[in-house]
Amino acid sequence: MLGFTRKTKVSTGASLPVLLGLVAACIFLAVGSLLSDIFAQQTVAGLAQGAIFGSLALALVLIYRATEVINFAQGELAMATTYIAYQLTLWGLTYWLAFFLTLVISFVLGVVVYGLLIRPVQHRSVIALVIITVGLFILIDGLVTWKWGADIKFMAAPFGNEVYHAGGVSFARQDIGVLVVSILSVIALWLLFQFTKLGLAMRAAALRPAAASLVGVRVDWMLAIGWGLAAVLGAVAGLMTEPSQFLTPTMMQAILLYAFAAAVLGGLESPAGAVVGGLAIGVFLNLVGQYVGFASSELRLPIAFAVLLVVLLLKPTGLFGRRQVRRV
């Protein structure tokens, strides 16, 4: 596939209208939050959820950029690593020790998944790759249910249950913690890609595999590391989901859909777009749920589907995507 298509960039990055629209949305949120306490609360909760969607979306985008695969098992992988963290805390580790150990384990897991499952079929059709990740989805689902059962499990709350009051507005400490951890992990990743030699090599391997290998980049390893980092981001998303959703084998399935919507909204190729898209979807869903009576909680998933479809039909490149022209 790679050999026969060549991409030519036509336009780059976010256009001015998109940036202006984002600034307008931020002003709208800020003014709304100053005027109404409930609005402010919903916005903060939405940002916290959106940060989780954003991290998972970023994991999807990383993999899509590196290997042109949509990993349908990304959410289940995140769920499985969260169960691993749960097991570690059962063995007596403190929460944060288990947290970081889980990140290491999930990195290894991501590398192994790439090496064993994706690399052998990478040259084949999109359909084959999608079916493999779907198989992985069911495999992980089965393994986790087999090992830990389908009933709800609880972990210690990492941020406690306190609530902060500022004026009439109350913020859950948990929401703030989730937001901070997710954003920190995104920043760490950005630093890695932007300022280290490894990050440079990874970007080169994803963008121009042939040229990168000519200058001595070990493309296969770079792609494997990309899968590992995506699994780490997924693990962060899973661990940050746990305090509000608790542990079940299906905990990430809805979040995967929100992450898809976020990634598509951001343009599917843009890391910044994925994070912005995630935050936007999180806030949007919460505000719509609060102020539109018809949009009850059962409609959250259909609304996310509608967002995804509208973006794909009206602006397939999303907010930050680049238009591509493929020569056949």
């Binding site: 899509y64 042109e68 695969v69 949509i70 349908f72 499952l117 052998p120 079929v121 084949r124 999109v126 359909i127 084959a128 999608v130 079916i131 493999i132 779907v134 198989g135 992985l136 989805f137 069911i138 495999l139 992980i140 689902d141 089965g142 393994l143 249910t145 087999w146 059962g149 389908a150 399935q253 809805a254 859909l257 898809f260 919507a261 598509v264 599917l268 009850s296 059962e298 409609l299 959250r300 998933l301 259909p302 996310a304 589907f305 995804l308 479809l309 794909l312 039909l313 397939p316 056949v328």
Partner: protein
């Protein structure tokens, strides 16, 4: 000619087995065998879309849900004859399939996979929203519950109809158009195949097959239509059935249906796997191994053996 004779022989053999089986099976196993037929209908439908037209869908569980709810609602509210609900859900899901197919025209590859996946996750939420009419998470039940023999007969009749219908559709002009789109959209369009018409048609037909399968699926689960039995896992199972069987083969779909329909039952009697959700592990492992080792599924393997066998005969010294 020889191929046709072989095909007819296989058809006769399958028909004989299907006709003889209910005499031997208990009611429970008749239900199980009916499930195989139901999965066959759904997998053939998905195969028309993926295997013959090259369009991916991870959302066929949603069409099954629409078909299933059509049957349950019609029977519950209007006491419609259960058989009569099948053509109705065929028609309704055909229209739904066209409606999904039109936006799908603008999507391809991973984008289509994403959109149909989101569709599959979203649709089972709708009965929860309008629970007044659909019974919410408790589901809705058909007015009458069919016996196992009845459902066995109807399911296999539908499977036979699906086979014949798909064969007729795919062997002629339409099938050629589908395959040309799969092989190269550009080449198809420049040979005068209308991409919008045939791609949407493929979606419609494929969805209609899934819809009938969904109706039967409701009947085989004691007439209950519930949101969680049409969850995303069902969509994935059908996709896996189609992939294991080999995309682009109507016979392979039977292997896929046997795999998806019987695996939970078989794995229940295997000590280690049967506990908990071991069958999902086997499902996942098998599909991954098949995709890596046999790119064309079981059907592709059979074709490869067949052609090697033939070439061995031809090149052999005693060949006449």
């Amino acid at each position: 000619m020889r191929r046709l004779a072989v095909s007819l022989l296989v058809i006769a053999a399958v028909a004989a087995v299907v006709a003889w089986l209910p005499l031997e099976l208990s009611g429970y196993h008749q239900g199980l065998a009916a499930r195989v037929a139901i999965y066959y209908v759904a997998i053939v439908g998905l195969n028309i879309l993926i295997g013959y037209t090259g369009q991916i869908s991870i959302g066929h569980g949603a069409f099954m849900a629409i078909g299933g709810y059509t049957t349950a609602i019609m029977s519950n509210y209007h006491h419609t004859n259960l058989i009569a609900t099948l053509p109705l859900s065929f028609a309704i899901t055909f229209v739904c399939g066209l409606a999904v197919g039109i936006p799908a025209l603008r999507l391809s590859g991973v984008y289509l996979a994403l959109a149909t996946f989101a569709f599959a996750v979203s649709i089972p939420q709708l009965p929860l929203k309008w629970s007044k009419w659909t019974g919410g998470s408790n589901g809705i039940r058909t007015h009458t519950t069919p016996t196992n023999e009845w459902i066995y007969g109807v399911s296999w009749a539908c499977a036979a109809l699906a086979f014949v219908g798909a064969w007729v559709l795919l062997r002629g002009r339409t099938g050629r158009a589908f395959r040309s789109i799969r092989d190269s959209e550009l080449a198809a369009a420049s040979s005068g195949v209308s991409l919008p018409i045939y791609k949407t048609l493929a979606f419609g037909v494929s969805a209609a097959f899934a819809g009938v399968a969904g109706s039967l699926f409701v009947l085989v689960t004691n007439g209950f239509a519930q949101p969680n039995e049409f969850g995303v896992i069902l969509s994935l199972q059908i996709l896996i059935g189609a992939a294991v069987a080999g995309l682009g083969s109507l016979w392979g779909a039977l292997v896929g249906a046997l795999f998806v329909g019987l695996l939970p039952e078989i794995s229940n009697s295997v000590p280690l796997i049967g506990s908990g959700h071991g069958q999902d592990v086997v499902f996942g492992l098998v599909v991954i191994l098949v995709m890596i080792l046999l790119p064309n599924g079981v059907a592709g393997l059979l074709r490869a053996i067949d052609s090697r066998f033939k070439s061995a005969i031809k090149s052999g010294p005693t060949a006449s």
